[in-house]
C-alpha cells in the first residue's frame, strides 16, 4: 500500500519467469497412476482359434499403476482404502498398500465349436475390464 496504485499499474509486465507447462504439471495425474491399460490378444496366440471362431481379437484390458494416497472420489474408493493406506504408512508396512484393480466389467460374445461339432454362440459376463479402482 506504500506505492500508489497508478505506479504499480505503470510497471511494465515482465514475461512470467516460470514455465507454464511446469506449472500445470502439478495438476496432471502422476505418470504411473492407477489406470486402465489395453492388452490386445488374438485367440490364435493362445492356439485356441481352432475352437473359438469369433471374435478374432480380444482386448480384456487391465488395471495397473500406483494408488495415490488421497484416492477419494476419483476412484470411487471406500474410506477403508485410506485407512489401509494410513496403516501401511504409519503402523505396519507388512499390510499391503491399496491395489489398483478393475471396478467394472463388460461382457464378451464368443462363437465356439463344441467337441461334438455343434456350434455355440454365448455371451459371457465380466470379460472386459472397463474401469479401475483402488482397494
Amino acid at each position: 500500500d506504500q506505492l500508489p496504485v497508478s505506479s504499480v499499474l505503470r510497471k511494465p509486465l515482465t514475461p512470467a519467469s516460470f514455465n507454464l507447462s511446469e506449472y500445470f504439471k502439478q495438476f496432471l495425474f502422476p505418470q504411473n497412476e492407477c489406470e486402465l491399460h489395453d492388452f490386445r490378444l488374438s485367440f490364435s496366440q493362445l492356439k485356441w482359434d481352432d475352437w473359438i471362431v469369433a471374435p478374432h481379437r480380444y482386448n480384456p484390458q487391465y488395471c495397473k499403476g500406483e494408488c495415490p494416497r488421497a484416492v477419494g472420489h476419483r476412484y470411487g474408493s471406500p474410506v477403508h482404502t485410506m485407512v489401509q493406506n494410513i496403516i501401511y504408512e504409519k503402523l505396519d508396512s507388512s499390510v499391503p498398500k491399496p491395489s489398483c484393480v478393475p471396478a467394472k466389467y463388460s461382457p464378451l460374445s464368443v462363437l465356439t465349436i463344441e467337441p461334438d461339432g455343434s456350434i455355440a454362440y454365448k455371451e459371457y459376463e465380466d470379460m472386459i475390464a472397463t474401469k479401475c479402482t483402488c482397494r
Binding site: W51, V53, A54, L111, P115, G117, S118, Y121, E123, E125
Partner: protein
C-alpha cells in the same frame, strides 16, 4: 473356534493357490490339472482345449452362425445393445443320423420323409430353452419356381433304438406349419419350440424327429399354372437351432443389466446388490411412478 477358522482359511488358500497355479494360461495344462481345479469360467473356456479330437462342424452351419454372430456382436466381441431378447446362448446342431423313410413323390410335390436324430448333450442344465427352429437351406444349383406353399409334418418319437431295453410305445406328435418357399430366400426356418420344449425341459439328450414336406405351387402368385409339382430335392438336411437363456453366473444377463441401469438411474440412492424380491419391488415402484407421471 479361532484356530479352526484359521485352519479352514489356510486350507482354502492352499486350494486357491493350487487353482491359481493351474490358472496361468501360459503353462501347458497337462492331464493332471483337470478342470476340477480350475475356476468355472476358465473351465468353460478350457473345455475347448481338450485333446479329444474335435468333430468338424458342418460348413453351412458355420456360415449361418458367423452371420448370426455379426448380427449380435461387434468385431471386438461386444454384444450389440440394440437387442432386446433374453437369450444369451444360441446352439446349432447338425443331425447325427438321417434315414430316408419313404421315397418322395414329384407329382404331389412330396419330399422323401426323413428320420433325424439330434444329440443335445452340449445343452447344460442351466440353459433354459426359449425358442427352437429347424433350419432348411437349398443347394443353390437347383432353380426353384417363384413361390411355393409347403406343409411340413414333424413327428417326434422315442428313439426306440436307444431304449432297446425299455419297452417304449412310440409316442408321436404331429405338427403342421405352413411356410412359404421364396426363390430369394436362402434359409427356411420352421419354429418347433412347442414341439421340442417338453423334450428339452425333461433333459432328453437325443431328439428323434421324422419330417416330411408336401409342397404345391402358390396359386396366388401364378394363377395360370395348375397345381404343377416340381422337384424339391434342393432342401438339404435341416439343422436344429436352439435359443437358450444361460442362467449361470458367468453368462451375461442383458435384461438384468438393462433393468439394473434403469433402476439406479431412476433412484441413484438405491442400495447396491438388490435382492431379487426388492428388485421386483423397485421395478414395480418404477412402473407406478411412470404411470403417475
Amino acid at each position: 473356534s479361532q484356530p479352526s477358522r484359521r485352519d479352514a482359511q489356510n486350507a482354502a488358500t492352499t486350494e486357491l493357490e493350487s487353482g491359481a497355479k493351474t490358472w496361468s494360461l501360459l503353462q501347458p495344462l497337462d492331464r493332471r490339472d483337470r478342470p476340477g481345479l480350475l475356476p468355472p469360467l476358465f473351465k468353460v473356456l478350457y473345455d475347448g482345449q481338450d485333446e479329444t479330437p474335435r468333430l468338424k462342424p458342418d460348413s453351412r452351419a458355420l456360415r449361418y452362425m458367423k452371420r448370426l454372430y455379426k448380427a449380435y456382436a461387434t468385431k471386438d466381441g461386444i454384444p450389440k445393445s440394440n437387442r432386446s431378447h433374453l437369450y444369451n446362448t444360441v446352439r446349432l446342431f447338425t443331425p447325427c443320423t438321417q434315414h430316408k423313410q419313404t421315397p418322395g413323390d414329384h407329382v404331389t410335390g412330396t419330399l422323401p420323409a426323413v428320420d433325424l436324430l439330434f444329440n443335445l448333450d452340449r445343452v447344460t442344465a442351466v440353459e433354459h430353452l426359449l425358442k427352437s427352429v429347424l433350419l432348411y437351406t437349398f443347394n443353390t444349383s437347383v432353380s426353384l419356381p417363384s413361390a411355393v406353399k409347403c406343409e411340413c409334418n414333424l413327428v417326434t418319437k422315442e428313439p426306440q433304438f436307444f431304449h432297446k431295453t425299455l419297452p417304449s410305445a412310440p409316442y408321436s406328435f404331429t405338427f403342421n406349419s405352413q411356410l412359404e418357399l421364396k426363390k430369394k430366400r436362402k434359409w427356411i426356418e420352421i419354429d418347433v419350440t412347442t414341439l421340442l420344449q417338453p423334450l428339452v425341459t425333461s433333459n432328453k439328450r437325443n431328439i428323434h424327429i421324422s419330417v416330411n414336406f408336401t409342397c404345391v405351387q402358390d396359386q396366388l402368385q401364378q394363377p395360370s399354372k395348375q397345381n404343377s409339382s416340381f422337384n424339391l430335392t434342393p432342401l438339404v438336411r435341416p439343422l436344429l437351432l436352439l435359443y437358450l437363456n444361460d442362467t449361470s453366473a458367468q453368462a451375461y444377463h442383458r435384461w438384468y443389466s438393462l433393468h439394473y441401469k434403469r433402476v439406479t438411474s431412476q433412484c441413484p440412492h438405491q442400495k447396491r446388490g438388490l435382492s431379487a424380491h426388492s428388485r421386483g419391488e423397485a421395478a414395480v415402484g418404477v412402473k407406478s411412478s411412470r404411470h403417475r407421471r
